[in-house]
């Protein structure tokens, strides 16, 4: 892959954020599942929840600091994932053409997409809302279960469980598709760049409207 035409899709700050997200969220999901099913002995469960707490704090700091350092990127992200158009419905009608491609080896026409396709947008919305819920409820459940009203704690607990299940299931899909789109995988985990031509095919609207040549100074 030595195309001269590369786009910097994920700048370093995003990649660091994503790395921290990986090393906090994956342990959170795993320990969360263990905490849900409680299979181990007392001291192992205690160790599990300690890992869960530490990873949770890391996730909180990660989210907070990226919010401050990468403020503009957060705003861009939000405006992208929360914008809906007719294309999104068409995209979901064919599920982005993925099932056809994977199962039948057929190519079906897919409506043009921006930086994120409709599935990724839905994922983005869920990750954002779910993440905020998880962080808030998680911190409250850790620090205040004894003195907040019992019904409130129970409600926070249910929210935490629901959001955690949703995001954990999403995470599996995300990992699968992330590895399937191997160029994007390398971009996110290594150098941040994807080939211009491929981007033009996958995200025509994005390349058309938002990509500029690197300014020479």
């Amino acid at each position: 892959m030595h195309s001269k035409n590369m786009i910097l899709k994920h700048p370093l700050s995003v990649r660091i954020f994503h790395y921290l997200l990986v090393i906090s969220f994956v342990p959170l999901a795993v320990t969360g599942l263990i905490l849900y099913f409680k299979p181990f002995s007392e001291s192992t469960m205690n160790l599990t929840i300690r890992v869960h707490v530490i990873a949770g704090i890391l996730l909180t700091f990660d989210a907070l600091s990226f919010f401050m350092i990468g403020y503009k990127r957060v705003v861009l992200f939000l405006s992208r994932v929360f914008s809906i158009s007719g294309n999104d419905f068409k995209w979901f009608a064919v599920l982005g053409g993925y099932p056809q491609k994977l199962l039948l080896h057929k190519k079906v026409p897919v409506p043009p997409m921006g930086k994120y396709n409709s599935g990724q947008k839905l994922f983005g919305v869920c990750v954002f809302i779910g993440g905020v819920i998880l962080i808030f409820t998680g911190l409250a459940l850790w620090a205040f279960p004894h003195n907040l009203p019992r019904g409130t704690v129970a409600l926070l607990g249910h929210l935490h469980t629901i959001a955690a299940w949703a995001l954990t299931l999403f995470l599996c899909v995300h990992i699968f598709l992330g590895i399937y789109m191997f160029d994007d995988f390398k971009a996110m985990f290594l150098h941040g760049k994807i080939p211009y031509e491929e981007a033009k095919e996958m995200a025509p609207l994005w390349v058309e409207k938002e990509i500029i040549p690197l300014p020479k100074n």
């Binding site: 469960m45 205690n46 869960h52 004894h146 607990g157």
Partner: protein, 425 residues
């Protein structure tokens, strides 16, 4: 339970509360409400209760956000079968705090005072009414007299009428079975300081099956007494084997012959009673007010405030004042012992008419053993306590917030400021 309970007598319920491990999330909330640290299990692991330390107070049960703790003894169906037995007179001993809470189980606003409706619902269910406020008044007569004799003994060296030994000061109240068990299991050296007066519930059982048997004209063994309490520890208390004084009275004095029976046969919590009413299709909220004629339903305002923290003390002050000075109080409300402060104290200076001398009595009121008791008890142990009479109630705010009360979703037993507490171990 694989451990053998060591702190129970034969016949006692070994711990009224247990934790359902499949529901428990290991969040540690309950530990901070437990007066004795009886809850074991590390943060994150399922918790369980060490029955030897447990007081059966039920605070963990009403404060667990996830509803994991449960009661191991449930007498609702037994009581219903007794109600259907024509040979049995079922007597319901209703504690003060029940009347301001049971309405909540029938959709009424928190704290609704429903004495009349409660009497009505009990009558409909066929339960004879024995208001525990009556015995609360009786408790004040006994416990107050005991305090006066202890105080006169300490100050003037007065001897007991029959030469009986007189206990030391400070005197502790003994109405709260969780507190009594706390002393018995943790600070046995303080036992002489506990008032020897039974709790109102146990007085009620003993009176119902002796004097009450005469009033109702029924043999004692046909009277079935149920304590209706805001409290799970009362279930334990009623099972203590020494509480068979009515049986002993009837067999030794009246030479009656029968199988042994307890003074209080079973205890229903406020929640249990609501369940019983619902099973019998009685909607308490729609009941008519009813005023029973029986003398056991007559009570004073001093008896009813037993359910609040400071209530026993206030009631005792009202009566002790009259007994010691020979005059009635003009304003009976004794405000310093009211409110939600952890430890409340007050001094009363009055003239003992018998000795014609001024005496100052220092009082303290403690509620919420888990958070507030330690400093007060340490002083007593060190012999430096400035107090003469100390009321202790296990539950924060007193019995109105007891472990058997309806569980209000929009609150918890936490009385202090909301502060984080980061669980780790």
């Amino acid at each position: 339970m694989n451990v053998i309970a060591k702190t129970y007598q034969k016949g006692e319920i070994p711990g009224v509360i247990a934790i359902n491990a499949s529901v428990c999330k290991g969040c540690d909330a309950c530990k901070r409400h437990c007066p004795t640290g009886a809850i074991t299990g590390m943060f994150g692991a399922t918790h369980s209760i060490d029955v030897d330390l447990c007081l059966s107070c039920g605070q963990c049960l009403v404060n667990c956000p996830f509803g994991a703790p449960y009661e191991t003894s449930d007498a609702v169906d037994t009581v219903i079968s007794k109600l259907n037995d024509a040979n049995v007179t079922v007597v319901g001993i209703i504690a003060p705090a029940v009347r301001v809470a049971i309405g909540e189980e029938f959709g009424m606003p928190a704290g609704s005072l429903v004495t009349g409706k409660l009497y009505g619902a009990m009558k409909k269910a066929g339960i004879e009414i024995f208001d525990n406020n009556f015995t609360a008044d009786l408790t004040i007569m006994e416990e107050g007299s005991e305090f006066i004799s202890r105080a006169r003994h300490a100050v003037f060296g007065e001897k007991g009428e029959n030469g009986e030994p007189i206990g030391p000061l400070p005197q502790f109240t003994s109405c709260c079975p969780a507190w009594v068990r706390f002393v018995e299991t943790q600070y046995p050296s303080l036992i002489p300081h506990l008032s020897s007066a039974k709790s109102p519930q146990q007085m009620a059982g003993a009176v119902a099956k002796t004097y009450g048997a005469k009033v109702w004209g029924k043999p004692a063994e046909q009277i079935y007494t149920i304590g209706i309490m805001p409290c799970t520890a009362k279930k334990f208390e009623a099972s203590r084997p020494e509480f068979k004084s009515a049986f002993e009275y009837q067999t030794h004095i009246n030479k009656a012959k029968s199988e042994t029976y307890a003074d209080v046969d079973v205890v229903l919590t406020t929640r249990d009673l609501a369940r019983l009413f619902k099973k019998m299709k009685i909607d308490l909220a729609k009941e008519q007010d009813y005023t029973p004629e029986i003398l056991f339903a007559e009570y004073s305002g001093a008896g009813t405030i037993f359910g609040n923290t400071g209530g026993v003390m206030e009631a005792a002050v009202r009566t002790a004042y009259a007994v010691i000075t020979g005059n009635e109080l003009t304003d009976v409300e004794f405000k310093p012992v009211r409110g939600l402060k952890g430890v409340k104290s007050a001094s009363v200076t009055l003239k003992d008419s018998k000795y014609d001398k001024e005496v100052t009595i220092n009082l303290a009121v403690v509620h919420g053993i888990a958070r507030n008791l330690k400093p007060v008890i340490d002083q007593v142990l060190a012999g430096t306590s400035p107090y003469h009479f100390i009321e202790v109630m296990n539950c924060p705010a007193g019995c109105i917030n007891g472990g058997g009360q309806p569980i209000q979703k929009n609150g918890s037993s936490w009385i202090e400021a909301i502060r984080p507490w980061f669980a780790w171990k």
